[in-house]
Symmetry: C2
Subunit: 889 residues, 2 copies
C-alpha cells in the first residue's frame, strides 16, 4: 500500500524539507521545522501523488487514503488531546494547499474546520470567549460555503451588512455573541437555500469536502494562468496539509504576523515584518487592516507610531528572532515565515525561501557569501539572471522636477511611467496598443495578474508591503507603490483623485517603487548604477564563466553601453543601420538607383569615408576587443521611400523623374523580403558594396590600431550564406581589398572572414562552409524563422492563438527551440568543427541574452554569446551558471 | 611516363569504345571501328588527360607528349606511306576535338593540315587535279587562320568575292587552279598582315597550332554555354584526334555523307541519310548545299528527283549498308555515322549513338527489344525520361483550318506557335515578356543556342535534316521546320515573306515539325495520343517500378488527364483552387470578412455543398484510387481583391463599406506571406474551415463510393505543420466531424489523416509528428524555400546571377538539392518510420516529376511520387529506371 499521508508534530515528522515534490513546499517545511524542534502545531500532509491519482481517475481518491487519513486524524487527536467533533474539546483544523512552487493566493484554504452546532459551545468554553467562538463559526461557514460549496460570498456580506443596519451597528465589532449566533443561523439558511442541503455538521464530511476543494482548485483558471506565466508545470499538482488550528484572534495576548529574515526590498540584514494583534493570518495578508511593524527599527524607519512586537512582547519577540536566525542558517537562505501567538504562546505556521527584489537577492547572496554562510559559487548560482533586468531599469532622474501628488509604501523598487489603467483588461488593451501603463487599483487580487503583467508598474490605495500587489509585483520585477491612502480611485467613473486633482483616461503618471512617490506626468529617468553587490557578484560570475559575452551594437552609444555592461566585444555590428542617418541615406539611394556598376561605385565612394569613420569610432571604443562586422544585409527596397509624397521629394533630390523612381521601387519590391534578394545574395549581385565595406573596415582598423595602440583583428561576417560558393565568391573580393589596402599603406594586418549561420541549409552544409569560414555566428532569429517557416513580423496573429490553445508552450523567438532549431545549431557546430576544429563559434540572435538558450550554448561549447547591451549582465550571469551546472555533472 | 597518345588504324587500335572518358567519343569509336576491321583512315588520339594538364598548368603540355606525338606521327607516315611535309607524297591530316559527350559544332576542327607551298604540288600530282590541290590549300589557310590564328574569316570571303568580281566570275567553280594559286598568295598576305608573321609553312608548327586551338576551344564561350545547358561538366575536357585525310572532293567518284542507321525522327527501321558528290564533310553539315538522299526509298519519300547513293554507287552503298548493320548490332543502338568515298573507296570517319527525337527513341527501343537486340529492361533504361515531354506536347488539330504559307523539312516533330523573333536576343526578350516565340532564321549557328532555348519552335530557310537547327532542336525536344526555301527572311527589315505576304513584329505563326508546314496565325492544337511504342514502353516501365506515381490535380479535367497519363491516384488536391471560381469566391470572401465564428460558419455552409460536389466528382473520376486532399493552405488575403476599383465592387456586393473592407485587407496583409498565417496555422485559428472541408470530403466519399461501387478511403492532409500539437489539434476536429457524419448517415467508413512535411522543423520532429500522422507527403517546394531561405517568387533576380557566376550548379526548385533539402527529407523519412514503421510516404513538390529527384525518392524507399498530370509518364519511366538502377547495385 503506498503511503499517501505524512504526519508532523512533536518533533517526529515523517517528512523533511527535501520532499517538496511529494509534500508541497508548505508540508515539507512544516515537517522540517518540526524536526528542528520548533513550535509547530501538529498535523499531516496528503501527498501530491494523491492529486495525480485524483485527476487521472475522474476526481476520485486512491484506495487506502481514507484509512490513512483516519489514522492520522486519530494521532492528531491524541497529540492535541482533542476530538474531531468532540463537544467538550473540539479539534479544529486548517486545510491548506501546498505545491512544490509557491503560488500565493492561487489555491484554496479552509480555516476553523471542525466547528458545528455541536462544537461551537465547546470552543466558547475552552476559549472563555463566546463571541470569539461564534465569530469563528460564522467565518468558517462563510469560507467553507464559498470555497467548498460554491456559494457566492456576496450573499453573506449582504446579510451581515443588513443585520448591522437592522441593529443600528456601524462596525463588525459591535456584533455580540448572540448577534453572531443569529447570523450563523441566517448563514446556514443561505447555504441550505443555495445548495438544497443543510450546512454539513459532520466534521468528517467537512474535512473531505475541504480536501476535494483544495485538489479541485489546482485546475481553477487563475491558478492555470499563474502557472503559465511562471512556467510551473501543470503536472506538479498540489499537496493538502491538515493542521491543528491555533488562534491569533483570542484577544490581546494573541497575534499573527509574517516576517522576512532579511529585508526583501533592499536585502538589508534585518528582521523585517508585520503583525496584527487579535487577528487571523488572512487579515495580515489581505491588506484590509494596516499592520504594525515587528521591530522597533522597522517602525522608526517607516515613521510609524504603532508599537512594534519587539516593544509589546519582548520575550516572545526574542524567541521569534532566534527561530528566524536558526531557520536562515539552516536553510542558508532568507526565509519568509508566518507565525501566530495564541494567548502568549508562539507557533510557527510556515517557512519558505522569501521572494525578494533583484536588488535584495543580489545583496543577500553577496552578503551571505561574505558571512561565510554560502560560497561565492552558490551566490552566483542562486540569482535568477532575468531578475537583473530590474536592476538595469531606469530610476527617476534626481535633478528632474517632480510633481508629487501622493506617497505610499515602496512595495517594489524601480520607476515606471504610463497611462492610467483602471482594470486589468484595460491595462492589457492599452499595452497592446503600444502604451506604457500604470495599473491603478484599490487593491489587487489574483484575477488582476494578467493586467499586472501588461503594466509597467502598479499602484494600490490599500494594503501593505506583503499585500497581494506588493508580493506579485516584486516577483515580476515591476515597480509598485502600495497603500497610497490619500488617493481615491473610482473605477466606474474612471478617475483617480489625488491632492484635489483629478486624473483619468489618457493621463500619464509616474511611480517610484523605491520611495513610494506618485507623480503627475512623465518624470525623466536615469540609467542605473552597477556597483556594490552587483559589481561583486558579476565579478564572481566573470571568474566562473567559460563563454565570452559580446554585445550586438553598432552606434557609439551602444558600444559604450556594451562596455559599461561588461561586454567582452561586439558580436554583431549591423552595418545597414549606419546608412539610415541623414547624409548617408542620400548616397545610399543614389547607389541603389544607379543603373551601372560605375554609377554604384561613384555613390559608394561617397559612403566610404563615413563608414570608415563609423568603424574607427567603434574600434576605438572597443579598444582592441573583438568586433564582428556584418556586411550589408537587408534588401535594397528597405532604403527607399514608400509613400508617394516622399517618393516625389526623393526623386527631386536625386534629380530623377518620380515615375522612374516608382518604377525602380516596383522592380525592387518583393513578395517575401525575408527570403529575398538580401544578405550575401545582394552582395554577390553587387560585389562593389562588399568591397567598399571591406575597405572601410580595414582602413578603420589601421587608424584605430594606431590611435589606441591596441591592434584590431576585425572579423568580417558574410550574412545569409546557404552554400560555400557564396562565401568563397565574397571572400575572394574581401581578400583582394585587403591585399590592395596593404599594398597602398605598406602595412600588413590580420583579419578574419566568417559567416552568419542562419539558414537550415547552412547548418547542414557547415562542414563545407567551414572550409572557408574562420568563424560562425549562429543567427538564431532568422534560423528560427526559416526552421519554423514563421515570419516573426507576421506571427503575432497566430502565435497568440497557439498560446491560448496550448499548441506552443514557449515563444521560440525568446527561448531557443532546442528540439528543432537547436538540433540544427548542434549539427552546424559539429560539422563546422569537422572541417576546422578550432573554428570560432558564437550566437548573435536575441537568444544570446536568454538564460535557457545560453545554457544550451554552453552545452554546445560555443565560444561566445552576443546580445543587446542591456542584456549583457544577464548573459554574463547565465553563462556563469551554465558553467556551474556543467561542473556539477 | 603516362601514356598521352593512343593510335588506331589497320585493325590494331590501342583503345576501344569503353575509353570515351579518356579518348573522347570520336577517338574511342574510331578505335572501336578499327578493331572491328572497318575501313578507318589511320591516326591517333591525344587524351583528355592532356587537356586537364593543359588547363592546370597554364596552357602548357605535359612532359613526354611531344615525343609520343612524334612517334605516333612516324607510325602514321609508315601506315600511309606518306611523309609529313614530304613534297612528293605529303601526309595531310585532320585535327578534331572529341569530348565524352557530343557537342556538335561547339569545338574547333582543322582539315587539310600539312599543306604548304612545298606540298601543294605533291598533292596536285597525286590527285591528278591541280585545281583540287590549290582549292584545298586555299580552304586550309582560311580555316587555319580562323581557328588557330584568330584572323577574321570575313577578310578571306571579301578577298574571294572581289577576285571573282575582278575576273568577271559568278561562281566559285569558275575559279581555275591558277586563280586559286593567286588567291592562296593573297590569303597568305592577309594572314601575314593580321598576325605580323608569315603563314606557317612547317607542318609540325601547323600541327601544334591546331592541337592548341582544339584544347583552347574547350573554354570558348559558346562551348561553355552549351555545356551549361546540357549539364556537361566543365572538367570532362576534350581529346584531340589526328587522322589521315581522305577526300570526298576528288571528283565525281568521290562523295561524303552522314547517315543514321534508323530514322532519327520517326524511329523507322530504315537507313536514313544524306550525301554530296565531290564535297567535304563540312559541306553536308553546314547546310549550304542541299544534299541528296542515301536510299531510293528516302528520296522517294521526300519527293526528291536527285539520284540516291543506292542508285549511283550500288556496290559501295551495299558495303556501307552492311557496315551500318554491323555497327548497330555491335553497339546495340542506332548509330549516327559519317563516311567519305575517295575515288570509289569507302572510309568510315565516325560512329556514335545517334541523336533522335523522343518518338524515335521510343520506337527504336521498343523495336530493338522486339527484335531481341536488347531486353525490355534495357529499352526502359535507355529512354531519357525528360524527353517524353516532346511526345506529350500538343499536335495541330487536324480539323482546324490551316492557313499554310510554306512548307519545309520536318526537322523536329511537334507543333508550336508564337510571335516571330528574328534574332536569338529578340527571342529571349519576347519569352521573358511572357510570349511564345518562333525563332525564324536563314540558318542557325551555335551562337543562336540561347535563342533556340527560349523559343517554342524554330524555323530556318536553309539547311537539311542534319543542319545545325535540326540537330539542336531535336536535342532540345522543340519543334523545328528547316530549309523552307520559299520563305525569305530579312532580319534587318524584320520581315518574313511567304506566299507574297509579309509578316513582321507582333505577328504569330504556327509551325508543324512533324509535317514541315508553316502557317499564318495560331492553329488550334490537340493533345497527343499515347499508344503504340509509348504504351508498350510505359507498360514495361509500370511492371518494373516499385513506386506509385500520383498526380497533383484538383479540377475534373486535371483528374481525367492524370488518369489518361496513367496516374495511380491523386497525391495532392489543393482545395483552395476550388474557391476561386465564380460563385465560390463570394461566400469565401463573406467567410473571411465575417467578424464572428457564427458569421464564418454561415458562409461556410454555403461553400459546403460546392466542395462536396467537387470532391464527389474527383472521387468518381479516380474510381477508388487514393486521393490525398490538402486542407486550405493559402493566407486569407489571397482571396481578397487588391486594386481599389475591385475593392469597391466587392464591398458593394457584400454590402460593406469600402473603408471597412480596405481596413480588413490591411489587417490581413503580411510582410512575408510565405511564412505567415496560412496552412494549419489558419485552420487552428479558424477550425470551422477544416471542419467544413472534412465534412465535404467524408460526405463526398460516401456518395462516390456508392455511385462507383469502389469504396474510397480519403486521405486528409494538414499543411505546414511544424509541431505535433498542430496536427493533433486539427486531427481531433476532423475525427469529431467523421464521427458526426457516421452518426448522421449510420454508415461507417475509413479515412486517413496525415500531413505535409514542408518545413525543416517538421523533418526534425518527424518522429513525434508520425505518432499522429498516418502519412507524410513531403512538400519539397516549400521545404526548399525554407531550407535555403529563398522565396521562389523573388529568386529570379539573384538566382540568375548565381548561374552566371557558377555559384549554384543547378536550380534547387527543379532538381531536389540532395545535400541540404535531401538530408532533411531523409531525416524526416527515418524518424517518421521510427514512430510508425508502415507510415505511407510520398513527395508532392514539383520535384515529384523530376527524374533525378525521383531517383532520390527511390533511394529513400518512398511509396509514391506525385507530380503534375503532364509529367506523370516521365515520373513512371523515371521510377522504373530508379528501380533498375537499384537492382543493378
Amino acid at each position: 500500500m503506498p503511503r499517501w499521508v505524512y504526519g508532523f508534530g512533536n518533533g517526529s515528522a515523517d517528512g523533511d524539507a527535501g520532499m517538496q515534490a511529494l509534500l508541497g513546499g508548505k508540508g515539507a517545511n512544516l515537517a522540517e521545522m518540526d524536526r528542528l524542534g520548533l513550535p509547530v502545531p501538529p498535523g499531516f500532509t496528503i501527498t501530491t501523488d494523491v492529486c495525480h491519482w485524483y485527476y487521472r481517475n475522474g476526481r476520485s481518491y486512491p484506495p487506502g487514503l481514507i484509512g490513512q487519513v483516519r489514522d492520522s486524524l486519530a494521532r492528531l487527536e491524541a497529540a492535541t488531546g482533542r476530538g474531531f467533533g468532540d463537544p467538550l474539546h473540539p479539534l479544529l483544523v486548517s486545510v491548506r494547499s501546498g505545491s512544490r512552487a509557491s503560488m500565493p493566493g492561487m489555491l484554496d484554504t479552509v480555516l476553523n474546520l471542525g466547528l458545528s452546532d455541536a462544537t461551537v459551545d465547546g470552543l466558547a468554553r475552552e476559549a472563555g470567549d463566546e463571541r470569539f467562538a461564534w465569530d469563528s463559526y460564522r467565518r468558517f461557514i462563510q469560507m467553507y460555503a464559498d470555497v467548498v460549496l460554491g456559494v457566492d460570498h456576496d450573499a453573506f456580506e449582504e446579510e451581515l451588512e443588513s443585520y448591522k443596519d437592522e441593529a443600528g451597528y456601524l462596525l463588525d465589532t459591535d456584533l455580540s455573541a448572540s448577534d453572531l449566533a443569529t447570523l450563523v443561523d441566517r448563514f446556514k439558511e443561505i447555504v441550505a437555500e443555495a445548495t438544497d442541503r443543510p450546512f454539513p455538521q459532520d466534521p468528517g464530511e467537512q474535512l473531505w469536502g475541504a480536501i476535494g476543494a483544495v485538489f479541485g482548485s489546482w485546475l481553477n483558471p487563475r491558478a492555470v494562468t499563474y502557472r503559465r506565466l511562471h512556467n510551473i508545470p501543470d503536472d506538479w499538482g498540489t499537496a493538502v496539509s491538515v493542521q491543528a488550528m491555533v488562534f491569533g484572534n483570542m484577544g490581546t495576548t494573541s497575534a499573527t504576523g509574517v516576517a522576512f529574515t532579511r529585508n526583501p526590498s533592499t536585502g538589508e540584514r534585518a528582521l523585517y515584518g508585520e503583525f496584527l494583534i487579535n487577528a487571523q493570518g488572512e487579515d495580515v495578508v489581505s491588506g484590509l487592516r494596516t499592520p504594525q511593524y515587528l521591530t522597533r527599527s522597522g517602525a522608526a524607519a517607516a515613521g510609524s507610531d504603532a508599537p512594534s512586537l519587539e516593544q509589546l512582547m519582548p520575550e516572545l519577540f526574542a524567541e521569534f528572532r532566534a527561530i528566524c536566525d536558526r531557520l536562515e542558517r539552516h536553510y542558508r537562505d532568507m526565509q519568509d515565515v508566518e507565525f501566530t501567538i495564541e494567548r502568549g504562546r508562539l507557533f510557527m505556521l510556515q517557512t519558505r525561501g522569501g521572494k525578494r527584489t533583484a536588488e535584495a537577492a543580489l545583496r543577500i547572496a553577496v552578503e551571505m557569501a561574505d558571512e561565510g554562510l554560502i560560497l561565492p559559487d552558490d551566490a552566483v548560482a542562486r540569482i535568477e539572471p532575468a531578475s537583473l533586468d530590474q536592476l538595469l531599469h531606469p530610476t527617476l532622474d534626481e535633478c528632474a522636477p517632480r510633481d508629487v501628488i501622493a506617497a505610499g509604501l515602496p512595495a517594489s523598487p524601480g520607476a515606471a511611467a504610463g497611462r492610467i489603467a483602471f482594470t486589468a483588461e484595460e491595462a492589457e488593451r492599452l499595452r497592446s496598443e503600444g502604451h506604457d501603463v500604470i495599473l491603478a487599483r484599490t487593491e489587487t487580487s489574483p484575477e488582476d495578474i494578467h493586467g499586472m503583467h501588461a503594466a509597467a508598474g502598479v499602484l494600490t490605495t490599500r494594503g501593505g508591503m506583503t499585500s497581494h500587489a506588493a508580493v506579485v509585483a516584486r516577483g515580476m520585477g515591476k515597480p509598485c507603490v502600495a497603500g497610497v491612502g490619500s488617493i481615491r480611485i473610482d473605477p466606474k467613473a474612471r478617475t483617480l483623485k489625488a491632492s484635489g486633482r483629478v486624473f483619468g483616461d489618457g493621463d500619464t503618471i509616474t511611480i517610484d517603487g523605491t520611495t513610494g512617490q506618485v507623480m503627475a506626468g512623465l518624470v525623466p529617468m536615469r540609467e542605473p548604477e552597477l556597483s556594490g553587490a552587483f559589481a561583486t557578484l558579476m565579478g564572481w560570475a566573470d571568474e566562473i564563466r567559460r563563454m565570452k559575452v559580446r554585445a550586438n551594437a553598432e552606434t557609439p552609444s551602444e558600444a559604450r553601453a556594451a562596455r559599461a555592461f561588461g561586454a567582452d566585444g561586439i558580436g554583431l555590428c549591423r552595418t545597414e543601420h549606419m546608412f539610415f542617418d541623414d547624409g548617408r541615406i542620400l548616397p545610399m539611394r543614389e547607389m541603389i538607383l544607379a543603373e551601372t556598376e560605375e554609377g554604384r561605385r561613384a555613390a559608394l565612394a561617397k559612403l566610404l569615408p563615413m563608414q570608415r569613420r563609423d568603424f574607427t569610432e567603434l574600434f576605438e571604443i572597443m579598444h582592441g576587443r573583438p568586433v564582428t562586422i556584418r556586411l550589408l544585409d537587408p534588401p535594397f527596397h528597405e532604403f527607399l521611400p514608400q509613400d508617394p509624397a516622399e517618393i516625389d521629394t526623393v526623386a527631386a533630390t536625386l534629380g530623377l523623374e518620380p515615375e522612374r523612381l516608382a518604377e525602380r521601387l516596383k522592380a525592387l519590391s518583393e513578395f517575401n523580403p525575408m527570403l529575398g534578394h538580401r544578405g550575401c545574395r545582394l552582395l554577390i549581385s553587387y560585389p562593389e558594396v562588399a568591397e567598399m565595406q571591406a575597405r572601410a573596415i580595414f582602413e578603420a582598423a589601421l587608424i584605430a590600431g594606431r590611435s589606441t595602440g591596441a591592434p584590431i583583428i576585425p572579423e568580417i561576417m558574410v550574412p545569409l550564406v546557404a552554400a560555400r560558393a557564396e562565401l568563397d565568391f565574397l571572400k575572394a573580393r574581401i581578400d583582394a581589398v585587403a591585399a590592395a589596402v596593404m599594398a597602398e599603406t605598406g602595412r600588413r594586418f590580420r583579419y578574419q572572414v566568417g559567416t552568419m549561420i542562419e539558414l537550415p541549409r547552412a547548418c547542414l552544409m557547415a562542414r563545407e562552409i567551414a572550409e572557408s569560414a574562420e568563424f560562425f555566428s549562429f543567427g538564431t532569429n532568422d534560423l528560427t524563422q526559416t526552421t519554423f517557416g514563421i515570419s516573426r513580423d507576421d506571427a503575432g496573429g497566430f502565435l497568440q492563438h497557439y498560446g491560448q490553445k496550448g499548441i506552443l508552450k514557449f515563444d521560440p523567438f525568446v527561448t531557443l527551440d532546442r528540439g528543432g532549431v537547436g538540433e540544427l545549431v548542434e549539427t552546424g557546430v559539429a560539422r563546422g568543427r569537422m572541417a576546422r576544429p578550432d573554428i570560432k563559434l558564437g550566437i548573435c540572435g536575441e537568444h544570446g541574452g536568454d538564460p535557457d538558450s545560453i545554457d544550451f550554448c554552453e552545452e554546445l561549447g560555443l565560444d561566445y554569446v552576443s546580445c543587446s547591451p542591456f542584456r549583457v549582465p544577464i548573459a554574463r550571469l547565465s553563462a556563469a551558471q551554465a558553467t556551474l551546472r556543467r561542473r556539477a555533472r
